[in-house]
């Protein structure tokens, strides 16, 4: 069970800020593939992953990052702080 969080336009497209996901995915990319199969709005949100950033347990990560033991995965567009 992994908490999956969405921010900014990813949150808007998927229509919720977070959800608990039952998954056997071993990497972030695997998780993305599983999510895309759920519903068209997921497929739309993840259509171009080069436009997305990901954090695993609140640390910036890559799509190839393993999920072993991860409790929280977040997807969002490039950050615009400052």
């Amino acid at each position: 069970m992994i908490d999956v969080l969405y921010f900014a336009w990813v949150r808007e497209r998927i229509g919720k800020p977070r959800e608990a996901v039952e998954t056997q995915a071993t990497t972030v990319a695997d998780l993305v593939e599983e999510l895309k199969k759920r519903e068209p709005r997921y497929a739309a949100a993840f259509a171009d992953v080069s436009a997305l950033r990901v954090a695993v347990d609140q640390e910036l990560a890559d799509f190839s990052t393993p999920l072993s033991g991860a409790r929280e995965v977040a997807f969002f567009p490039p950050m615009t702080g400052g």
């Binding site: 921010f7 900014a8 949150r11 954090a55 609140q58 490039p78 950050m79 615009t80 702080g81 400052g82």
Partner: protein, 151 residues
């Protein structure tokens, strides 16, 4: 925690003068203090109603702490402060500030620029602008990502 300052993420406005006074009072031996303040700019020709800043509670604080710790390690600083707002802000309001203090101006300037470069593209904030035409997410700039390569 090493040095004066720290990091804060808050919805409320901050008092720049009071922040700088308190920060400076907590530093010792610093001869130089640099501050940067970001202001909500109306690029929509007077049509900007507000900017809404979303962030990732938990990760934001961790990211800011890390950026601050990296700066403290890299330069000989008496302190570093980061204050960043979230929520709705009007044109002309202050979005965020950083302050650095050091014995000499060179380190204080360099560290403040470093903090800003990392805040721009490594801290989980997202901005949405609301104008009379609708709402739009502010896109990240390539030059902000490129700015990191100099450090």
């Amino acid at each position: 925690m090493s040095g004066a300052g720290g990091v804060r993420v808050q919805r409320e406005a901050f008092d720049l003068g009071a922040e700088l006074e308190a920060f400076e009072a907590a530093t010792s031996g610093a001869g130089a203090m640099v501050s940067f303040t970001g202001i909500v700019r109306d690029d929509a020709g007077g049509r900007l109603d507000r900017m809404e800043i979303e962030h990732y509670p938990g990760m934001t604080e961790r990211a800011l702490e890390k950026i601050r710790a990296d700066a403290m390690k890299r330069w000989d600083l008496a302190g570093a402060l980061i204050v960043h707002r979230h929520g709705a802000l009007r044109p002309g309001e202050w979005i965020m500030m950083v302050a650095t203090a050091a014995r000499h101006r060179k380190a204080a300037f360099a560290a403040a620029e470093f903090l800003m470069d990392y805040l721009k593209s490594r801290a989980p904030f997202w901005k949405k602008e609301y104008t009379s035409d609708g709402a739009e997410w502010v896109a990240a700039k390539e030059e902000d990502e490129a700015a990191l390569t100099r450090w």
